[in-house]
Symmetry: C2
Subunit: 164 residues, 2 copies
């Protein structure tokens, strides 16, 4: 009736770490969304999309590349780009090299939007994440995050759709 192997429960210390991490997983994205929503009227995901484009040559990326960069599904990106297009920050055009691809291109207004938004956002990341940490802890955070990331996905390609 019982599962045969006794599970390896968490130690007290691990439990505390897990609860604290749980809070961060829950509230950090929410806090970043709140800042961007308040100061720029966009979500964090929309910001990532605009930022991704702004860092690419010509402010241009294929939808699939942009989806990978912004850690979102193609379906989600498609709808987000709809919204950004309606707001005049992005345009879509077919890739002349291969008609299956769609290029997302940052408009001039879009570039202005990112450039106005970035400083406040970086400031918030710094305030919430790096200011409270020592430099050594920031390095530890990098290493710890990498290891957890590795455990979640030994390769590097996660976005939905596993093995066909």
């Amino acid at each position: 009736m019982e599962k045969p192997a006794e599970p390896r429960w968490l130690t007290e210390e691990e439990m505390q770490a897990w609860l604290a991490l749980g809070g961060v997983l829950m509230w950090l994205p929410s806090a970043l969304d709140a800042q961007l929503q308040r100061d720029a009227g966009i979500t964090h995901f929309e910001y990532q999309v605009l930022a991704g484009l702004s860092m690419s040559p010509g402010g241009t990326l294929r939808m699939s590349e942009l989806a990978a960069f912004s850690n979102g599904s193609l379906s989600r990106l498609s709808r987000v780009v709809d919204r950004l297009e309606k707001r005049g920050w992005v345009e879509r055009r077919p890739d002349p090299d291969d008609g299956r691809y769609t290029l997302a291109v940052l408009t001039e207004a879009g570039r202005e939007k990112v450039e106005q938004t970035a400083p406040g956002h970086v400031e918030e990341v710094r305030r919430l994440v790096f200011d409270p940490l020592t430099q050594a802890q920031a390095r530890q955070l990098r290493e710890i995050s990498r290891r957890i990331g590795q455990a979640i996905d030994p390769d590097g390609g996660w976005p939905p759709t596993a093995a066909p």
Copy 2:
């Protein structure tokens, strides 16, 4: 035309840490949800609700306490408890001490569900979070998460609705 103060940009090291953390923020909740969905057909939030009840005396908590414990809004909890009630794992009843409160009570079936589900979930948390870390890193993770949590919310009460 430019913002007066030059923002304090992130150093290369911070940028790497931020990207790595971003991946964890994005994919760890998703990975945990996937395991629970696959093995138990419930979301991580639903699990937290059931687990919260199972750890309370009599398997009973007021809705508002349960919402605080599970890091969700009351509105969200209300709908989730609807679902759990339909599945026969939770019941609602008015608090006899104060009719404004609603008590959520874990049924026998609900308790069995948590007990069947917990070991696999704990195993997954261990696999994704603690197995890849040294013990010292787990301690660091606790401290780092606490500091970030503190920066997000100096007190301890976040769930929506700020100062009235």
